[in-house]
Structure formats: C-alpha cells, structure tokens
C-alpha cells in the first residue's frame, strides 16, 4: 500500500513539473482520467501484493489427498471438524499430527471411534491400506507433521539385544515385560503389542497416540526405533515360550491362579481318590 502511494506521489510531481495551458474542459477530463488511472493502479497493485481471499484454498491437493479428503468428509468430519481443526468436546485438531498419527489410529481400527470413552480400542480396521494412505496424505498436506518411513519391514538388520534394553527402559513400564499391555489410571491402558505391525509401532513412537508419550527422533533415533521393533517382533511375538504355556505372560498373578486351579485341584482330587480306597 505504502509503495504505490509513493509511486503515485512521484507521478503527480512529474506531471506538475511541466505546466501546459489547457482548456478548462480538457483539464477536467485529464484530471478525471488521471484519477481513474491512479485508482486502477492502486487497486491493481493491491490485488497483486496483498493476500487474496481465495489464497486459503490455493495449495492444490495431490490426487491421493483429494481421495483422502473425500473419505475424511464422510467418516472423520463429525468429530475432527470440516478442516480437521477439531470440534470442542468431540475430537482434537489434526493440524500438525502428520500421517504417522493417521496411519496408527486408522490402520489399527482405533479411528473411527465407536464411542467416546477413556481410550480408543483396537478394532478391525474400517479402511483398506490404500484408503489409510490417502487419509494420511490429506492430513499430511493439510498441516504437516511426522511421517513413517516407507516399507512394511522396518526392522531389517536391527540389533535385537539393543532393542531389548531400550524396550525395558522405555516401554515395559506400561506395555509390560512381555508386551501384553497394562493398566493406566481411570480406565486408560497401554494396549497389547502383539497385534501391532512394524509401521504401527513406528507410528506410535513417532506420534504418541492417546496416553503414550512421543518418542521423537531426537530421543530415540530411527535406528533405535528399528531395534525396538526388532525386539518386539522377533523376541516377544515370534519367540516360542521356552518354558511351555506362558499363562498369558501376566507375571506372577496368573502363576498363583494356576497353582490353585491346576496343582491344588489335581492333588485334592488325588487325596479324595486315595482316601476313598480304604
């Protein structure tokens, strides 16, 4: 605005510098033309330099994101709002959460939520992998944020032993030593890691869904994340339990239950049998 004010003043000064005698009518006509030209110039300059109204819609969405937006507008808009800005009391804003968060929540079936409760539960997913990618692309292009690297196997050549140590330090407090999950306060919980895929575990660490803290790349480097995933997938999930039936890996609670339900029950029946033989 200021810049074209300056320019206008300069123009007027130049015109005043060469006074030419003209008729009154022509002078008036010239003034009118100059005024119109100045207005047009100012208006045009404003249009060029100032942010326009349409500029908000301007960054064009990719094809995938457009597909994602269509899905979003059907399945997510109720709680997350028309432009993913969130709805008070229903759902948080998705600006800046990135595709990692979308991928974790939607591919594990947690989103769309069945109802508002302490925590979204894992369910059979509502969308195909392709649709999840499209939704993630839309949210990514909308607000940016963390992304999961490409590929389905994210733990190739990773160090399982290092991962185990990191797992015990960072994860076992909530997900328990065997990855079976555990309770948090007020109905919240750390879910079991058994059904989780490489990408979901990676996405969870990056985005910190629900009650989980974010483990950003500056806290746990991508290599360490791969180590942790290797430990979960190769040791906790694919490892056979060396000692036999693992009793759900709930620790001493189920072991205590087992000694009464199996040991004591078997031996009480034995003693009934023995005493009955007299």
């Amino acid at each position: 605005m200021t810049s074209d004010n300056d320019r206008r003043r300069g123009l007027l000064a130049r015109l005043r510098g060469r006074p030419v005698a003209r008729s009154r009518g022509r002078r008036r006509l010239g003034a009118a033309v100059r005024l119109a030209a100045a207005l047009m110039l100012a208006g045009g300059a404003y249009t060029v330099f100032a942010p326009g109204v349409q500029a908000q819609d301007n960054p064009p969405l990719s094809a995938a994101a457009n597909e994602g937006k269509a899905l979003f507008d059907v399945s997510c808009v109720t709680c997350h709002g028309r432009n993913a800005q969130g709805v008070e009391g229903r759902g948080p804003s998705l600006i800046g959460v990135g595709s990692a968060s979308v991928e974790f929540q939607v591919s594990s079936g947690r989103m769309p939520m069945a109802r508002q409760e302490a925590q979204a539960m894992r369910k059979p997913p509502q969308f195909t992998d392709e649709q999840v990618r499209q939704l993630g692309q839309y949210i990514q292009e909308l607000g940016g944020g963390p992304q999961v690297p490409q590929g389905n196997n994210l733990h190739e050549n990773a160090d399982m032993a290092a991962g185990g140590e990191l797992f015990r330090i960072n994860c076992s407090q909530c997900h328990a030593f065997g990855g079976g999950g555990g309770a948090l306060s007020s109905g919240k919980y750390a879910p079991s890691l058994r059904p989780a895929s490489d990408r979901q575990i990676y996405a969870a660490m990056l985005s910190g869904p629900q009650n989980m803290p974010v483990f950003g790349d500056n806290q746990i480097t991508p290599e360490q994340k791969a180590d942790i995933i290797a430990y979960i997938q190769e040791t906790l999930k694919h490892d056979q339990d060396q000692g036999g039936f693992n009793l759900g890996r709930y620790g001493p609670s189920t072991e205590g239950l087992a000694i009464f339900l199996v040991g004591i029950v078997a031996l009480v029946f034995t003693s009934l049998w023995i005493a009955g033989k007299s």
């Binding site: 302490a118 399982m160 032993a161 991962g163 185990g164 140590e165 015990r168 330090i169 076992s172 407090q173 909530c174 997900h175 328990a176 030593f177 065997g178 999950g181 555990g182 309770a183 948090l184 306060s185 007020s186 109905g187 919980y189 430990y231 190769e234 040791t235 906790l236 490892d239 339990d241 060396q242 000692g243 036999g244 039936f245 693992n246 009793l247 759900g248 890996r249 709930y250 620790g251 001493p252 609670s253 189920t254 072991e255 205590g256 239950l257 087992a258 000694i259 199996v262 040991g263 004591i264 078997a266 031996l267 009480v268 034995t270 003693s271 049998w273 023995i274 005493a275 009955g276 007299s278």
Partner: protein, 542 residues
C-alpha cells in the same frame, strides 16, 4: 566240602534277625509300623506340603550346582540371542545359562518354582482344614503355632528365592523390600544398611540371600517340619467323630503296609503334578525381564501369590503420612502400616488364635475329635472373615492386571478394594454364621423327622405333604421313631445314602467288588452279595 544250600526265602528274615541282634530295632520299629492313622481325604493336604518340600530340596540342590551367587558384572554370551552382549550380574547370567544352556536346567528351575508355589498353597489349604475343623485345640496349640511359623518361614524362603536370579522382577521386589525396611521408624535405615551392606542395592545382597535361601532358611524349615511331624506322632492324629471313634482312641489304618504305600503313591503323584506343571507351564520367564537396573520397572510386576496380599495392602493404603514435630521433624511413611504393622498383627492373631478361642469359650479340655465347621459357627464365621480379608488383599495385589484384562478402571479397582476390605469380611462372617446355623438345623430336622423322599402325598382334606423316611424304625404312634442324637458326623440326607438305590459299584477302572468267591485279604470280611433292591414308596400299601 559240602556246598551249603542257599535259601533265598529265608534271606530277609535272617538279615532282619542279624540287624536286630545288633541294633535292637524290632520293638520300636514294630510300634512305629503298627501306628494307626485315621483315613480322611482332608488329612492328606499337609502331606502335599511335605512332599513338595522334598521336591524343593531335590530340585534346589540341582540348581545350586549351576547358580553363581555373585553380583560381579559380566557380559552375557550365552545362547539366548536377545540378551547377548548385555552387561549383567553373574547371578543373572548363570540363571540364564541354567535356563538355556544347562541340560534339563529350565525344567528344574520351573519345577523348583512351581513346587515353591505348591508348598505355600498346600500349607494354606492344610491350615484352613486344621482351622475349620478345630484340630488346633488343646493339646495341639504348639503344632498350630509351628504351622503358622512354617508359613512365614516359607514366605521368607520364597522371597529370598525369587530374588536370587537378579532379573528385573526380582530386583523390583528387592527394591520394595528395602523400602519396607526403610519405613520402620528409628531402626529402619540401620536395618536396611546392614542387610544390603550399605545403600540399596549394594554388591553383597545376592550372596547373602543365597546363603539364607540354601542353608539358613531350609535348615529352619527342616527343623520346624521335624518338630511338626514329631508332635503329630506324639500327640496322635485327630479324627472325625463316628462309629467306634472316641476322644481316647484313633481308628484307621496301620502305618505299614497300607498307609505307607498310600503315602508313597501320593508322593509320586505330587512329584508328577509338579513335574507336569514344570514342563507344561512357563513360570517366571526371567529372560523377558532383563537384568535388574534401577530404572527398569515392568508393568504387572507382582510378587508370588503368597506375598501378593502385602502388595495389595500397599496399593489400598491411602497416602497418610504422619509427621512428628520432633527435632528436625520425623516422618512415618504410609508404607509402614500395610507392610510392617499389618503382617505383624496377622502373625500375632493367627498364632494366638487357639488360646483366644479357648479363653473365650472357657474350654480347657483335651480335644482329639474334630468338629464339623457347621457345629462351631462362630469359628467358621471368623475363618470366613479372615479368608475374605486375605482374598480381597490378594486380588488388590494384582488389581492392575485385573483392571487391564477385564477393562475396569484401575481407580475403580482400588476403591472397590478399599471398600471391600472393610465391607466384605463382616458380610462373610454373617453369611457363614447363618449358613452354619441353617445346616445345623437341617441336620436336626433330618434326625427328628427323617430324610426327604421327594414323594408328595395328598391328604384326604386336600393338603399336600412330603413323605419323610425316618432313620429309625417307627414305633407306630406318629410315624416317628425314637429321636436320634446328633453325634457330630454326617447325617444322611438323600435316599440313596440309606440304600434306596443299592450300593454303587466302586472302583476306578474296574469294579473292586467282585462276586463273593473272589479272593479277599484276611483283613477284610468277604463281600456280601448285593441285597435285593426294593422300592421305597410312601409306606402305604394299596
């Protein structure tokens, strides 16, 4: 030279004679072998504890051959890949080697652990039998006290045992134990630093626990068990009241051969159950917990079941801190009450119970006959109260697992435990008491009026009555015989207990009751042929 004839049949007698010549063993041995034990299934529960203790000794000796009780740091290089290259204590490394590299080591470790759980469980079940039947009464109070002490010494044995592998779980338990010791006013910090040799965890605790676990505590257990069994021998076994059984005799089977054979068989079964559990069910997978590090605490870190009630009481205890304005201020942490005071009260109450009851009932006589739980309603109700108190605490000790797996809020579980701890025991007392009275009343009713037959008779005036089968022959007046006295034993309450269905054929794989010509042992009268069945009707002939 005349070759002497070797008589194999005379060999045992000759050997025994030769031994008796030298050791004069026959007289005491005959007394021992002829000792009579009463026969009831509930008398075998204590044996489970004894036999699992033997399994504990056997498997424990095996484990000591390979376990290294040291906290020196080593780098694991065994066959369990996910821990290879991890620095850990020698104790943990040798436990891992025991599990993965020693042949048969894992099943031995698991058998040892299951046997420990079974030992404690059977102690508790045996204790419940003794309590609810009044077997602890004079003259057996001492044995009751020894039995209670066996539970607490077993508790220590278990705790020192599962602290030895030095994995994440046992280290967490040790940390809690050190916190409990520290919470004791005045002496806490002194006791803690003398046990741990300085600050927790120090470098000595595993060696100390090891010697306590393999020498001191088992020695104490062996001593207590010996006195326990010796007293049972000396004071003789209690028995249920019944025909021919009085306060002065013991009716049952002789020690040899039947009782000894049965016990030998029972030992094999206990051993078998422990071996099966050790082979089939994984217990304490130390390799998942990793080496103990102060910053590693897994979710669902619970103690073994017999310690869980202390964990529960800690979880339920509100955070009430008592500050005493003394000097710079002295604080009694809330942990002190549920973990030091509560077990102290429990030990005192449980060991002193026989004397409390005798004092309350002013009953100082000898009791060798048991009481059915229903006949001592107050005791049964107190027992129900104690059991429910313990169960609420134990469940609260695992309340995070229950909350997680049954989708209940953990806060709700905690509050349910707090309220339940106060409400459930009195409720259990009331319900148990009423049940006892109801069962007593039913016994008396059956004795007076007979067994319900399930036959409904319509009277001429249109009323319906159920026909009862009297237990004694009727004397013709009102269909009732002479009233029977209650003798403290089972009253038949179903018609087939009175022979309405004829005796059931007994036997596990094939009938043990053969026709009369079958050979029978001299101790048993020949089996009578089955009496003709006759229908028991309403007693009226048409």
């Amino acid at each position: 030279m005349k070759r002497r004839k070797f008589d194999a049949a005379a060999l045992p007698a000759k050997t025994a004679g030769a031994l008796d010549d030298r050791f004069q063993a026959a007289t005491p041995l005959r007394k021992l072998l002829n000792k009579v034990f009463p026969d009831h299934w509930s008398f075998l529960l204590g044996e489970i504890a004894l036999f699992s203790f033997i399994v504990l000794l056997l498997t424990g000796v095996f484990l000591t051959f390979f376990f290294e009780p040291a906290m020196t740091e080593v780098v694991y290089d065994g066959s369990y890949a996910p821990l290879r290259g991890t620095p850990m204590s020698a104790a943990y490394a040798s436990s891992l080697d025991l599990s993965f590299d020693v042949r048969g080591g894992l099943i031995m470790r698991q058998m040892h652990h299951w046997a420990a759980l079974l030992f404690m469980a059977s102690i508790v079940v045996h204790m419940l039998r003794v309590f609810f039947t009044g077997a602890f009464r004079k003259p057996r109070e001492t044995n009751w006290i020894i039995g209670s002490l066996l539970f607490w010494v077993g508790f220590l044995a278990g705790f020192t045992g599962y602290s030895l592998p030095d994995d994440g779980l046992s280290g967490t338990g040790l940390r809690i134990a050190s916190g409990i010791i520290l919470s004791i006013p005045v002496i806490g910090s002194w006791v803690s630093s003398s046990i741990f040799g300085g600050e927790f965890p120090g470098t000595i605790i595993i060696s100390r626990f090891f010697i306590a676990h393999v020498l001191l505590i088992p020695g104490l257990l062996v001593a207590l068990i010996s006195v326990h069994l010796g007293l049972v021998f000396k004071q003789k076994h209690t028995q249920w009241p019944g025909p021919g059984r009085t306060n002065e005799n013991v009716v049952g089977e002789r020690m040899f051969p039947r009782y000894a054979l049965k016990q030998g068989g029972f030992f094999m079964v206990v051993f078998g159950v422990i071996a099966l559990m050790g082979g089939l069910f994984q217990i304490n997978p130390i390799w998942y917990f990793g080496p103990y590090e102060a910053w590693v605490v897994s979710a669902a870190s619970q103690p073994d079941w017999y310690v869980m009630f202390l964990d529960g009481s800690t979880r339920l205890m509100p955070a009430w801190e008592i500050s005493i304005p003394l000097g710079d201020g002295y604080v009694i942490p809330p942990l002190f009450w549920p973990t030091v005071v509560l077990p102290g009260i429990l030990v005192g109450l449980s060991t002193m119970y026989p004397f409390l009851e005798a004092r309350r009932l002013k009953d100082y006589k000898h009791h060798n006959l048991l009481q059915r739980p229903r006949d001592a309603p107050a005791r049964t109700a107190v027992g129900a109260m104690a059991v429910s108190f313990y169960v609420v605490l134990t469940l609260s000790g695992g309340n995070d697992v229950i909350a997680d797996k049954f989708h209940i809020s953990l806060n709700a579980m905690t509050w349910a435990g707090r309220i339940g701890l106060l409400v459930v025991p009195p409720l259990a007392y009331y319900v148990a008491y009423r049940l006892c009275l109801g069962l007593q009343q039913h016994d008396r009713e059956v004795l007076a009026h007979g067994v319900e037959t399930g036959i409904i008779k319509r009277l001429p005036d249109g009323r319906f009555v159920e026909v009862h089968q009297p237990l004694t022959p009727t004397d013709g007046h009102d269909g009732h015989g002479p009233a029977l006295d209650y003798v403290g034993w089972v009253v038949p309450k179903k018609m087939n207990r009175l022979g309405a269905l004829g005796p059931a054929i007994r036997g596990f794989f094939y009938p043990i009751e053969k026709p009369a010509e079958a050979p029978v042992s001299p101790g048993h009268p020949p089996v009578e042929p089955r009496p003709e069945r006759e229908e028991i009707g309403s007693g009226e002939r048409r």
